[in-house]
């Protein structure tokens, strides 16, 4: 019981750290809200007390020192080395052009209209769904409809999206070692740092009563922060593990990403 509470408290702290509010967490765990509420309020008090934003000037100076040190080690960040090589006036003009270009190419275009990846049976990237066993045993079926998947490139604002070829998966059939490929296609080679799944609907049928229940998500998407690499000459198979967890004894369930069982692996060479 205490262990359950510790886990729920821990999950709420994670959610608040990611930007959720206390009320949302309490509404997901009504059976525990009386005990949880004051604890999460104390967390808020501590965070508020020590919250401060470092000054922009100090941060900028520290960043410059950091990149200078990195440059001395033989890896000058491309932007810095470029600006060292050209006169100051030209540098400012170039900055202006670059800002416009960067905003339009890196920020506006990828955020509001990220490139859609094209499916292909011979593609270098496969996306799979699996399910870690938690409370999946409570369900006769648990259909998750995925409307889109996003891949965030590491160290930049570039994001790529694709629409799964198989949109609805039944998590009861994907337990443990089981997984289902929902998309395969070509993804740009490079390092990636985050994966998003946009979930449009989750319908579960309870094993015990046959009742159809809605399963909640902490937000409209499931998000994993995880570094992985996609290469041109191998097939990268990324498995996104989803788990369903009962939220106390109120008959409610939530869907969560399971980072420990998710990840990428390079399977075989495309050249073989």
């Amino acid at each position: 019981m205490t262990e359950d509470f510790d886990r729920i408290l821990d999950e709420c702290i994670d959610r608040i750290n990611r930007g959720d509010n206390v009320a949302d967490c309490l509404s997901d765990y009504p059976a525990y809200s009386e005990r949880l509420g004051p604890l999460l309020q104390s967390m808020n008090d501590v965070q508020k007390t020590y919250a401060f934003t470092p000054s922009a000037d100090t941060k900028r100076a520290a960043r410059q020192k950091f990149y200078a040190a990195m440059g001395k080690q033989g890896r000058v960040p491309p932007v810095l080395s470029f600006f060292r090589a050209i006169p100051r006036a030209a540098a400012w003009a170039t900055i202006a052009v670059l800002v416009v270009a960067i905003v339009s190419i890196l920020v506006i275009q990828p955020i509001f209209n990220p490139p859609m990846l094209v499916p292909s049976p011979d593609g270098n990237f496969a996306f799979l769904i699996s399910d870690e066993r938690n409370d999946i045993g409570d369900f006769e079926s648990l259909n998750v409809t995925i409307s889109g998947v996003g891949l965030q490139a590491a160290g930049s604002l570039k994001r790529f999206e694709f629409t799964p070829e198989t949109k609805t998966v039944d998590l009861t059939e994907l337990q443990g070692e089981q997984s289902q490929e929902i998309w395969r296609g070509n993804a740009p080679a490079g390092q990636y740092s985050q994966v998003y799944i946009y979930v449009s609907e989750v319908k579960g049928k309870l094993e015990s009563t046959g009742q159809i229940v809605d399963v909640k998500l902490p937000s409209s998407k499931l998000h994993l922060s995880m570094s992985f690499e996609v290469t041109d000459d191998t097939v990268t198979r990324f498995t996104f593990d989803i788990t369903v967890v009962a939220t106390g004894s109120n008959g409610k369930y939530i869907l969560k990403p399971q980072i420990g069982d998710s990840g990428a692996r390079q399977d075989q060479s495309l050249l073989e």
């Binding site: 702290i13 104390s42 967390m43 020590y50 401060f52 941060k59 699996s130 390092q191 692996r265």
Partner: protein, 178 residues
């Protein structure tokens, strides 16, 4: 499912890229983490900068052995903070009377904030060192309990238990009503 055969061990250059990625996300968090220990914002900012420089210098020796890079950064932050506190001959916890809250011209608000600050700081002082560290890593550093557990050399369960006990103690001291 288990993911086996992760490709190869990242190279030092890959670690450098990752460290650069972490800079923007973690500089503020590291500064706040240090601030709780030393109670001086300017010094905390400087130490946060030092953390990344030290990490960069030590990258050759860094290999991901169960501790993710962000956890490693907080280990470095902890060591630098301890060095600083030793040097300054101060206690590790924040001396409330030495802290100045800035950025508010209203004296009533400032006084109220000072009172709240002292209450929270006094409550934090009454935690054990490990409880305080868990609260600091989780609330200010934004680490997961698994990452905090890796840093403290504890199990996830032990950290979750310590976290609950610490918050209950804080709540009791700070007088948040049940």
């Amino acid at each position: 499912m288990n993911i086996g055969n992760r490709k190869d061990i990242p190279t030092t250059n890959e670690y450098k890229s990752r460290l650069a990625d972490l800079y923007e996300e973690y500089y503020d968090k590291v500064a706040r983490y240090v601030y709780v220990h030393i109670g001086n914002k300017e010094e905390a900012e400087d130490i946060a900068g030092e953390v990344f420089l030290k990490a960069l210098k030590s990258l050759e020796s860094y290999r991901e052995r169960g501790v993710p890079m962000q956890g490693w950064l907080f280990r470095i932050a902890h060591n630098l903070t301890v060095d600083y506190v030793r040097k300054m001959d101060k206690r590790r916890t924040m001396p409330a009377d030495s802290v100045e809250l800035v950025g508010n011209d209203n004296p009533v608000d400032t006084a109220q904030k000072n009172i709240e600050f002292e209450q929270v700081t006094e409550a934090m002082k009454q935690l054990t060192t490990e409880q305080r560290e868990v609260i600091n890593l989780r609330f200010l550093g934004g680490l997961t309990s698994k990452e905090a557990a890796d840093i403290l050399g504890k199990s996830d369960g032990a950290v979750r238990e310590m976290q609950r006990a610490a918050i209950e103690k804080l709540r009791g001291i700070m007088g948040v009503e049940k």
